[in-house]
Symmetry: C2
Subunit: 410 residues, 2 copies
């Protein structure tokens, strides 16, 4: 790396370290529409102003920093990601895409700017854990918030509508599209969050598609009883049902190549050591690379729930919380990334994204979108404090992103 | 029932209703060594004083109300139970045994008293859920608190030692036996908490033995990861391991007649919908009618844990929290109960207790002990707000208890 490239990567990593300290516990905790995310937005807004960008906050609370282009009539080129995190998250997921986009846009503006306006964007509430549904800011662009969106409740009993209002973003959620004029394209840089690039010893990856995914809440209902006095054969143990579901849905996922199923949250009630559980609430996160396998996986989960409940003499209710169809990346911005990767002398590794991203929402809404993955070290661990990426990959990533944005912005 | 018997049962049920309102939510919540249990102890102490009993609190916080006997040299006859409850418990478990004992002792005193002193006792912290270990007050009588007892922690991070001190019971837990002189015998009346008496349409049961039981905390450790990016085959999902354990330990219990296994508490961490669980903590409650089957069940659980962890590429740690051997009831106080049941014209139904009780601790320590079960209606549901017993069974229970205590106290 040249000295200037090293300094560039060092500044980006320093900024990621600064963001990491906001909401720091074991990892960082900046749930979307919370105080930590808000502080991160304010910090980045300050960096945007220092870089000479025009800063605005849209009707959904998304942060935008613009470097105006020579041709005001030309559609904008957008690049960015998000600043919220899952519980005890790492320093790269989301933040890297925003900080790298800012660095790139600052550099292009400093060297005279481009034909199109370039906008750095930090979307609100990308991560799902807080309210059981994510990609809030990007969906709001296109008026895709659900009718129940304001009533979603977090673990502390705060509704999404209350969290939104508490930040001064408005008493009501936006009822229509927040976006006046769609951008010409969107490019999101992001840590891979998986082991593929590390295994191939490649610093960068070009995303081909983003997985389809469904989130389903399941409630198993049995009958509470004393742990010592109810014979095994007479029990309706909601945890026996839930455990059977976990096994069956995981078996179902293993039978479908390329799909994954995860039960990340499970609440066992009443939660007393000597009481047979009468109720278990859990959340199944289902993902597949194409619509056919997503449908098959949802079918397998539905069937697993019914069989597991019946086996344990329990009832089950399935509450679908979200569903996003698989989406392909667009050849135009993806082509610009491909050319930039090749020009940097790096192998072009194509790979699908198993994780969801704001880019999937923009792509589905018709904005030509692409994603650049930066290698995930530490075995691809993500959504955890160990999440890491070497300075070499960061430096290459920001150079490639700059070259692609320069090409797309003309 | 005669009018006076009806009034007697009505007063007992009214007192149980009053106690039920302390810590009332869905059910009642009076965790041991907590504020609710303390208020219940103070309320019952007041009733004891109204009944003319001598009230004391021993070094472990157990409440005693004595009707002095004619012969001060004679060993005391004890009867009672406990006033704490599991989360959202009912109105009979524990409280019935204390309130009935008080009614009986008040009646014997009013009619001139007995040869032996009769003591009504309310033991502290009988239920296990708060600190993962119960029968605190009865174990303390005999110096059987464990060296780590003060350091046990509840869900709010409060230690048992802090809870004890906060009630003004002392800065340190008692280090030796709290009891100076063992009672001649102990009789505990209790709701059955199972369906046997209701199925036989019998109001009362004579307990033959109390089940042996073991409590084991298990910690499954896997590797956190993003729900979308780690292939099923490469996961170390701690919930997959825990679910496998639940299935295997329940299968193991079904293979041993008369034993039960319950996983009542399970914490899935970090608990985010889109993160593969890296850690699951759960509690296995294992019970068996004799030592041989208890040993076999613990072996089955240990083997289930190892196999389930290995199947999911996880590690597991087993932390034994408590173990009580099965114990037989004593022929002398049990004989008094048997004669009293027969004299009341009721069939003598003998049955084992699957639940643990303070009576098991006293029996193991050498105090001749017996238990009278009162029918559990509502299908034998217990540790739940629906827990109930009809006024007819309560009335018969208190009459039988009085006759037995009169015989034992001479």
């Amino acid at each position: 790396m040249t000295d200037s490239t090293q300094r560039r990567a060092a500044r980006i990593i320093e900024r990621l370290d600064t963001l990491f300290e906001i909401g720091r516990d074991a990892g960082t905790n900046r749930p979307g529409l919370g105080e930590g995310e808000q502080r991160a937005h304010e910090l980045v807004a300050g960096w945007m102003r220092e870089a000479g960008l025009d800063v605005t906050v849209d009707g959904a609370g998304n942060l935008l920093g613009r470097a105006p282009g020579a041709d005001p009539a030309a559609a904008e080129v957008w690049t960015g990601s998000h600043l919220d995190t899952p519980p005890d998250g790492g320093r790269f997921d989301g933040a890297l895409g925003v900080v790298a986009a800012l660095d790139v846009t600052e550099a292009i503006r400093a060297s005279g700017g481009a034909r199109c306006t370039i906008a750095v964007v930090a979307f609100r509430l990308e991560e799902g854990p807080r309210f059981g549904r994510g990609v809030f800011g990007s969906r709001a662009l296109f008026g895709e918030l659900e009718p129940d969106e304001a009533d979603l409740v977090d673990a502390d009993g705060v509704t999404l509508g209350q969290a939104f209002a508490a930040l001064g973003l408005g008493e009501m959620l936006p009822s229509g599209p927040v976006l006046d004029r769609p951008p010409a394209c969107f490019v999101e840089a992001h840590i891979e969050q998986g082991p593929t690039l590390a295994a191939r010893d490649s610093p960068l990856g070009l995303v081909t598609s983003i997985a389809g995914m469904a989130g389903i809440e399941l409630v198993f209902t049995g009958r509470r009883g004393h742990a010592g006095t109810v014979p095994m054969a007479l029990r309706s143990d909601a945890l026996a049902a839930a455990a059977g579901f976990v096994r069956r849905v995981y078996d179902g996922a293993r039978a479908l190549p390329g799909v994954v199923a995860t039960v990340g949250r499970m609440d066992v009630l009443p939660g007393a050591t000597n009481t047979i559980p009468g109720r278990v609430e859990l959340f199944a996160d289902l993902r597949a690379p194409d619509a056919e396998r997503l449908e098959a996986l949802i079918g397998a989960a539905t069937s697993a729930a019914g069989t597991a409940a019946a086996d344990a003499s329990c009832a089950v209710e399935l509450l679908p919380r979200w569903r996003y169809e698989p989406v392909q990346m667009h050849p135009e911005p993806a082509g610009a990334l491909r050319r930039a990767i090749a020009a940097a002398g790096v192998e072009v590794v194509e790979l699908p994204s198993g994780a969801g991203h704001d880019a999937a929402i923009l792509a589905t809404a018709g904005v030509p979108s692409a994603m650049l993955f930066v290698r995930s070290d530490a075995g691809g661990v993500s959504h955890a404090p160990e999440e890491s990426t070497g300075a070499d990959a960061v430096a290459l990533g920001v150079e490639v992103l700059e070259a692609a944005i320069r090409e797309l912005a003309g």
